[in-house]
């Protein structure tokens, strides 16, 4: 009797290996998060919990945990620091939704819609302070330096983005500055601090920083592409949100740069807020498709994804490295 070997088709990249890699550590991180978002003021855990328990992927703390695995760190200091990273991220999201006037995130109503802008601003401030308390408890001045600098860079990036809003002539360089600050800086810091607590040499810190930074840029590029290809049902984000807010993302920057006078006039009108109907959005989707602006945004994402993978080439292979490579492949494949 001859056995017939069935081979599975090559599966598409997944976040599962990384989730499995960090599962037990993530339980410890979640315990810290739940413990430290408490307060005698009931609105604080209520509002923070809405977002923290709201189906986020815990991407940034996951990167801290995976990086620690990659370098064989066997302590527990990174649990508290990963929670601090997630608090910084959550505070940023709360403030972002106020700034953007968003009403939907991860498929749920945003905190600012449910509890109002004042509560979102103040609970964001609380989580931000708590994140610093967690770092101070850890006591590493180097970690504090990395994460306080990342926080300042994020805020600068957000202000940069705000002043760039509705400017059709933004350009790819300034766009990259913005996403490098508002997204990639925290990805980079989340990875780097693992090397710091494990007391690894500077070049390993730098390698993990480069992994996180390039992954963060790729991640944001794909996010910005998704706004022009998906619908709210699948992504938990309203497709067309960026379009309606006049946000200058790379798909728009490329479509504008490649457009003739008519297209440029359309984009200028859209970005400056004079075209935001569903028909306008449908026209925008057609323009970014026909100009290959989404395809090339995704090609840029693959470029940064490859750089992320190459950044950790020097580390020994194994489950952690495989998972970190596949996480990048997953990040750049999300829009297909």
């Amino acid at each position: 009797m001859t056995a017939t070997v069935h081979r599975l088709a090559p599966r598409s990249p997944s976040l599962e290996p990384m989730l499995a890699l960090v599962a037990s550590d993530m339980n410890a991180v979640n315990a810290v998060i739940l413990d430290r978002m408490q307060s005698q003021i009931p609105l604080i855990p209520e509002l923070a919990g809405h977002l923290i328990a709201g189906g986020g992927k815990r991407m940034r703390p996951m990167l801290t945990l995976a990086s620690a695995r990659l370098i064989g760190y066997s302590g527990t200091r990174h649990h508290r620091l990963a929670a601090a990273v997630e608090f910084i991220h959550t505070a940023t999201l709360l403030h972002d939704d106020v700034v953007d006037g968003s009403d939907l995130r991860r498929g749920k109503r945003t905190a600012n819609i449910i509890w109002g802008n004042p509560a979102s601003v103040l609970v964001g401030d609380f989580l931000f302070s708590r994140s610093f308390e967690l770092m101070v408890e850890d006591g590493s001045n180097k970690v504090l330096k990395i994460l306080s600098n990342a926080s300042a860079v994020i805020a600068e990036g957000e202000v940069n983005q705000l002043t760039a809003a509705r400017r059709v002539d933004l350009g790819e360089d300034r766009y990259l500055d913005i996403i490098g600050a508002k997204t990639a800086a925290l990805f980079a810091a989340a990875c780097r601090i693992a090397a710091v607590v494990a007391e690894r040499p500077e070049e390993e810190e730098a390698a993990l920083d480069a992994y996180g930074r390039n992954l963060g840029i790729a991640f944001q590029l794909v996010d910005d592409a998704i706004d022009y290809v998906s619908d709210a049902g699948t992504m938990g984000k309203d497709a067309g949100d960026d379009f309606r807010e006049g946000k200058m993302t790379l798909p728009v920057i490329l479509a504008y740069a490649r457009g003739g006078p008519d297209e440029r006039r359309f984009w200028k009108d859209a970005v400056e807020g004079r075209r935001s109907s569903d028909d306008d959005f449908a026209h925008a989707v057609a323009l970014v498709r026909d100009s290959r602006a989404v395809d090339d945004t995704l090609a840029r994402a693959r470029h940064y994804g490859q750089r992320a993978i190459d950044a950790i080439a020097g580390f020994a292979g194994g489950k952690a490295k495989d998972a970190m490579v596949e996480a990048v492949e997953f990040a750049v494949a999300r829009a297909y």
Copy 2:
């Protein structure tokens, strides 16, 4: 020829001795503030500078500097930390004005009115991050612990105040909790860190903390009284702002507690937002006056002011101590 000696009438208490005491140190603090509010993103120094250069008294950094003088600290570490304290305060003010929808502060239009809420939220976040960078540069884990805890307590106090808004049955205890957190915590921390950098014993830290905390409570009580006695021209604050926002401050708490059914109905209507005209405010001013609610709010302020003065009784006398005592007397005398 006989000389006639003219004696001045006893002058009213003033902040001048404290301003003179810290003048040269404050120049150094201002240099740090100006340097560290810079950013490549022009909106950041523009918006931050509006508030920072906008006639604030620098009360909190002044307390750090005066406390350092009191204990004879001769180093310069406190300059950077005093700047960090002022950044925390400035970030809080920016967010407060968004939360309250204020349009006037220190007699000038607020940043949120000029640049919008999003910019105020994000530049506040930037200054808050910068304050942590400054502390991290100093490197004292103890100072970091004190100031990160104060920041979390401030944010908690602000959320507490938000959830207490428009509740006529608030009560004096919860009011004291709120002002203890949102105002007095940073006054206390500003004073305490001077003892930390000077490496003085724990009891001196605690004494300076108590001085700052009690002064902070007295300061806020007088501020809340002023809302019912002064006008915008003299204070740089709109009289009646608290009233129109339905904020439960001690003058209202006392007037409500002492009122008959008609007065209580008026206060409930006012606090819940159904009475906010100029006539209503005039009626409110008459009620707090007739119930001695403002007088007794100021008496409470003098109580905490006396506790502040007693807290530093153990330190050797001299110019610094005299200035710190007179600063308290000035704070509680402001409303007369």
